[in-house]
Amino acid sequence: MITVNGSPAEGAGRLLLDFLRENGYDPARIAVERNGAILSRSRFGETWLDEGDALEIVQFVGGG
């Protein structure tokens, strides 16, 4: 199990980019932190999720 924005989720062993797409996140509209460290977009496709990982996924909405 991993946690996403504080809630448990299935995702250990998955590639982050695949996990994001399968869970409805648009990689072009988000910012991701993993275990308290920033994870820039260029690394989504090379980052494997480990058991116990904590992801914070910020989904931006329009307006500013």
Partner: protein, 214 residues
Amino acid sequence: MGQNPISEEEFDAALSLRHGAENQKILKRARVAVFGLGGLGSHTAFFLARMGIGSLHLIDFDRVELINLNRQQYLLSHVGQYKTEALAAQLWEINPYLNLSLDTVRVTPENAPALAANSDVICEAFDAPEEKAMLVNAVWESAPEKRIIASSGMAGFESGNTVITRKISSHFYLCGDGVSEGHRGNGLTAARVAICAGQQALMAARLILGREEP
């Protein structure tokens, strides 16, 4: 700027009287970038200038339009002007000794690192979610030590009490309610976007003063 009958020392003294001399010294040394000068960024820049931040970097490619006046910090006389220039003229009316850098450009992943390079704190105030995410990611790629205050969710007439600042991590803060997306018929309203700008500008000042909690 022209000739100012009031000296820089007098401006500093006036700000110090309100903010405290030690705080004002620190705020004056600080450099903050505001990316996007619409409803959010124009108000954020106003608040930063009034709080005595010494150097602001203002970035926006766009011109002021009539449809901006319901919520953005511009006047009818600014319509047609670049937002960078219209805002700079007003900020120098608040403090003529404010150091302003203006970039009237569209921000891309390629130019974002250089645009962010000279600032201690980055305020993200773009409209499109893709541009918000692009800026945060581009700064993270080039300068992960930068502190970013981004924004998401501030449209409409919903309660202002839900427009908050969250600390996502030590270098990443998010202002807004997270959900209120702006679109035709539910656009940004002056008061609510200004609440978000107040959150953003205050968090920037707090970070500069070493206060890291929202």
